[in-house]
């Protein structure tokens, strides 16, 4: 595990000691090299996990998330180059340091064995993200967004700390590798109801669950592009990952405690998809689309069947790549017209045809076109929820239709039709932007050929 942590830590002296004209090149190249080494994690055993030490382990659930995290850092650095052009070198280096720090905390979160260590790292990821949102965001609303983001997550996760300490006191250990074999059935009592709620609410807020999702549109919209990318691609999946881990300790209470949250998520995915149809702000549309996809993941994790877990894992990886790519595309629009309104830059296909190709691919994967992994994830979730209760097929089908509707709405509004005259002189696409989009799309398409690596531990 140190083979990932130490190079990532060393990225910080690398940026601070680089010459001013080499900071982006050094950090992007070296983070890309580190992301290649993350593939070594895929050498998983049959039933066990890869246990690096007493502190770190990785199994088939955390491996794809780790690879995604480490893949995303060079992409974030590539995406941020333009909006930081006019800043002083010190601020650029500070920005990169924040991203590297966030990366470090994320790596340690996904591989933590001890659940208190996981909690500390989980909370620690909030700090660099908050700094990135509030310092480098573009509008004044970023302060409000940072506040919402911080306090929603903190309020949800403080009970988690109490619950973890309680489990440590009663069970004796919080080492996850021991706990998964030692977990006793949780009897039914009021205090255990609150224990269940305390454990799960942190991750529900993070995912986010529909009723607690208010922080997400604010934070995603006000964050700079690197902040949006890491929020959408990784930080939301922290919630899913945490839920998948902690539900092992909470059986059989989850069978009935999960009902209100399943209902909220089933209804919420339709509501947020419908909100997407009425959005004028491009980033806001993508943010609500994230809520909708994550609602599917919440339903899948809460019904706790093998297929739904496979679907949840696949959907998390697929959504990470797709959503991050959509934010990069929205940012390429924003950098040209300095507005997030969709209709201000429309008809882009005639002006930037290659970027239109990326828009098309991203929208197609967002609406879960076969044979992408988005579809595989959604299909597994739909099938398992159908066997859980037949009526959910109506809601899931409606959600897929509305998802297709708003994805195509976004594509058609930004790409098709006659372009407005005031965007006649926008800059052509930079190679950096095309590289960014292709580095998002390539793993997505390659994974469609071999999806078994992202199907999680139950495959």
């Amino acid at each position: 595990m140190l083979k990932y942590i130490i190079p990532t830590m060393m990225l910080m002296p690398l940026t601070w000691l680089s010459k001013n004209n080499m900071i982006w090149i050094n950090s992007t190249l070296h983070s890309l090299l580190i992301s290649f080494t993350s593939l070594l994690l895929m050498n998983q055993f049959g039933d066990n996990s890869l246990n690096f030490s007493l502190t770190f382990f990785s199994d088939s659930l955390s491996t794809p998330l780790l690879i995604l995290t480490m893949w995303l850092l060079p992409l974030m650095l590539m995406a941020s180059q333009h909006h930081l052009l006019k800043e002083s070198p010190t601020r650029k280096k500070l920005f990169i340091s924040m991203l590297v720090l966030l990366q470090l905390f994320l790596i340690m979160t996904f591989t933590a064995t001890e659940l208190i260590f996981f909690y500390i790292m989980f909370e620690a990821t909030l700090v660099p993200t908050l700094i990135i949102i509030t310092r480098w965001g573009n509008q004044t609303e970023r302060l409000n967004a940072g506040l919402y983001f911080l306090f929603y997550t903190l309020t949800g996760s403080l009970p988690l700390l109490v619950a973890l300490i309680h489990i440590q006191n009663t069970v004796g250990s919080l080492n996850f590798l021991i706990l998964q074999y030692w977990a006793q059935p949780v009897p039914n009592s009021w205090s255990n109801v609150f224990l269940w709620l305390a454990c799960m609410m942190a991750f529900m807020v993070k995912m986010p669950l529909y009723g607690l999702h208010l922080w997400l549109p604010k934070a995603h919209v006000e964050a700079p592009i690197a902040g949006s990318m890491v929020l959408a691609a990784i930080l939301l999946k922290l919630g899913g990952y945490g839920m998948m881990r902690i539900t092992l300790l909470l059986n059989p209470m989850t069978d009935y405690m999960a009902y209100p949250f399943i209902m909220l998520s089933l209804w919420g995915m339709i509501m947020t998809s419908s909100i997407c149809l009425r959005q004028t702000d491009l980033k806001s549309l993508i943010a609500y689309s994230s809520v909708s996809h994550m609602a599917l993941v919440i339903v899948a994790i809460l019904i706790q069947t093998p297929w739904s877990y496979m679907g949840a894992t696949a959907l998390m990886i697929a959504h990470g790549l797709t959503s991050s790519m959509l934010f990069c595309l929205a940012n390429s629009n924003y950098e040209r017209i300095h507005s997030r309104t969709m209709i201000l830059a429309r008809g882009l296909q005639t002006l930037l045809p290659l970027m239109a190709a990326w828009w098309l691919l991203a929208s197609l994967t967002n609406l879960a076109l076969p044979p992408t992994i988005n579809l595989i994830g959604e299909l597994f979730v739909v099938m398992s929820t159908f066997s859980w209760s037949n009526i959910t097929i109506i809601l899931m089908g409606l959600n897929m239709v509305i998802t297709a509707l708003y994805s195509l709405y976004m594509l058609i509004t930004t790409q098709r039709g006659k372009h407005t005259h005031h965007i006649n002189n926008i800059l052509p696409s930079f190679t950096r932007e095309n590289a960014l989009m292709s580095l998002h799309m390539l793993p997505l398409l390659l994974l469609s050929l071999n999806p078994k690596i992202i199907l999680g531990p139950l495959y």
């Binding site: 290649f36 593939l39 049959g46 859980w388 006649n424 071999n450 078994k452």
Partner: protein, 170 residues
């Protein structure tokens, strides 16, 4: 509208400058995609400011300044990008494709086939319907069961609905 037209005219002027050279200005111009340099014979210190790029060797690695780059020329960055992408996808794809028996699935298939062959040869059923051996399960005595039932009932709260649809797994 006027700003757009002005921008277009400005760009056309830049293209002309790039291909035909500056009309008569005393500034130095360096191409960022080739090694072409247009320099006046005598450079006065006062005219050094202007179109001289500050870091000539590193143009192609950062976003070009929109004021002094002709964006419609051939882009050498694309070569780097294409080669990076192909190398990345090739290496990572080869690595993933040739992972040795990831999560022991191939071994599991071979073991299953071996067991099936063995059981068919010996006339045994291919699989028993019991997951666990029933003889190894020890049920508690009836009195212990009643005590446990009463203990659970006293801790359950009465608002729990008696009939809940049980989750069915696929």
């Amino acid at each position: 509208m006027a700003a757009g037209m002005l921008g277009l005219c400005g760009r056309r002027l830049l293209a002309v400058v790039a291909t035909q050279g500056l009309p008569a200005a005393h500034v130095r111009w360096e191409s960022s995609s080739s090694r072409a340099v247009i320099a006046p014979a005598v450079i006065a210190p006062s005219t050094l400011a202007g179109k001289r790029p500050s870091e000539p060797t590193l143009h192609w690695q950062e976003d070009p300044e929109p004021e002094d780059k002709n964006l419609y020329e051939n882009n050498p960055d694309s070569t780097v990008m294409t080669r990076t992408l192909l190398w990345t996808s090739g290496t990572c794809g080869t690595f993933v494709a040739y992972l040795p028996d990831c999560r022991m699935q191939e071994r599991a298939r071979r073991e299953a086939e071996r067991l099936v062959k063995y059981r068919e040869a010996h006339g045994l059923p291919i699989m028993e319907s019991n997951c666990f051996d029933p003889s190894k399960i020890q049920l508690p005595e009836d009195e212990d069961l009643l005590v446990a039932k009463r203990a659970i009932k006293s801790t359950t709260f009465s608002t729990m609905p008696a009939i809940l649809p049980s989750p069915q797994s696929p």
